[in-house]
Amino acid sequence: MPQQLTPIKKDRKQLDMEQDNQWPLWEVFIQSKSGQPYKHAGSVHAPDGEMALENARDVYTRRNEGTSIWVVPAQYIIASTPEEVGSFFDPANDKVYRHPTFYTVPEGVKYI
């Protein structure tokens, strides 16, 4: 029979939380192999870029997943808004002539 214990309750202040515990957020991008593009892996908190890099290394590349890492302050990432996805990407929708299959090449013509 498990022992009866009083529930754990501890006041927030009792935990002696620091005033500003929330270090800036950094987005982590990893290049898996030389020549490959950098791919978003996740994010880490760190007080500065150097420590963000070290944290990113420890969190995201424990098994040689990368040859190089970028960390970018999350606040500087500008993202397209999902609500405008239709109108934002609209200009590319009707431009079939941007694709090679739009153009006819007679049979027998090679290397094109």
Binding site: P2, L15, P47, R62, A79, E83
Partner: protein, 314 residues
């Protein structure tokens, strides 16, 4: 762009999920979806973090260097998994600080299994084999959960978990091929970890409070009972191979259903442990609070160092 009504937004949201698309942090989402996800992902993160405690108990007493290096790497992975998941939860608009606060004040839950003690070295084998085995079954399903950051964290985690399960099974196998005492130790660990591992999948579907919404929103794609059955069907032959037996006299192969039948789970014990009365609940939280407080100087030093560098650069 015309304002959409709440109803239209909800319909669009559900349609996206039904089309097997993913919801991303900035997308509109039903508030209850957000709240349920914060609860589920943070519980999951806390479980990874608290899960380090029972295992780290044996790092200094691992029987040899090979086992020690493996266990150390596994515990390190659990810390990493906790971080992936905290990051995923933070994309839903809750801060890391709040999340840690919820854990340390006992407001948030974590997996019940970590409130049981690791009494012998064989428990480290049983945890890797059974607890990580059960976690993998759940996490494989979550790799296709509808929330993008959660699904992506799961893919990363699953890739790393398979080493955890294999190191556990190898420990069990070594013990089972060892002396009579060593084999008895493996059997004892199985006896203690089997039922709590089955409880990891949560209450039976008919009693599970959050399942139906999460199923509709494609977070929970398979039911608790189905996942549990899958785990049992996979694990019993592994125990047969080891030559040890599950502590369940009702466990037997059912030719008609092509599944194992199994005995009644003691849900009273489950509810006791989840409400704070397990063998180690208190110890686990105290250990986390101590780690948090003892680590304060490291956080302070890092902040001071960053500050000093900034001032120098200015």
């Amino acid at each position: 762009m015309p304002e959409l009504s709440q109803q239209e937004l909800e319909a669009r949201f559900q349609k996206k999920i039904d089309e097997n698309l993913y919801i991303e942090p900035k997308d509109w989402m039903i508030d209850k979806y957000r709240q349920n996800l914060i609860r589920q992902i943070s519980q999951h993160a806390h479980s990874e973090v608290v899960g380090m405690l029972p295992e780290s108990n044996w790092i200094t007493r691992a029987p040899n260097l090979r086992r020690k290096a493996g266990l150390l790497a596994k515990v390190q992975d659990e810390a990493g998994h906790g971080l992936y998941l905290y990051s995923a939860a933070e994309t839903l608009g809750i801060s890391r600080e709040e999340l840690l606060d919820q854990l340390l004040t006992g407001k948030a839950k974590y997996s019940n299994i970590f409130n049981y003690p690791t009494l012998t070295w064989a428990d480290i084998g049983a945890i890797g084999w059974l607890v990580d085995g059960a976690a993998i079954i759940n996490q494989v399903m979550l790799q296709r959960a509808s929330y993008g950051p959660y699904a992506r964290a799961m893919i990363r985690i699953c890739r790393e978990e398979s080493f955890h399960q294999r190191q556990g099974f190898e420990i069990m196998l070594t013990l089972c091929r060892g002396t009579t005492e060593q084999k008895a130790m493996a059997q004892d660990a199985l006896n203690r970890w089997w039922w709590p591992s089955l409880m990891m999948f949560g209450p039976s579907d008919k009693d599970s409070p959050h399942s139906s919404d999460m199923a509709k929103w494609r977070v929970k794609r398979e039911s608790n009972d189905d996942l549990r059955q899958k785990f049992i069907d996979r694990t019993v032959p592994q125990a047969d191979f080891l030559g040890i037996t599950m502590p369940d006299k009702d466990l037997k192969w059912n030719e008609a259903t092509q599944h194992y039948d199994f005995g009644e789970i003691n849900w009273e014990e489950f509810h006791q442990v989840i409400s704070g009365h397990g063998p180690c609940n208190r110890e686990r939280i105290s250990a986390r609070i101590k780690a948090h407080e003892d680590g304060k100087w490291v956080r302070d030093a890092a902040a001071a160092y960053a500050n000093k560098k900034r001032q120098k650069a200015a």
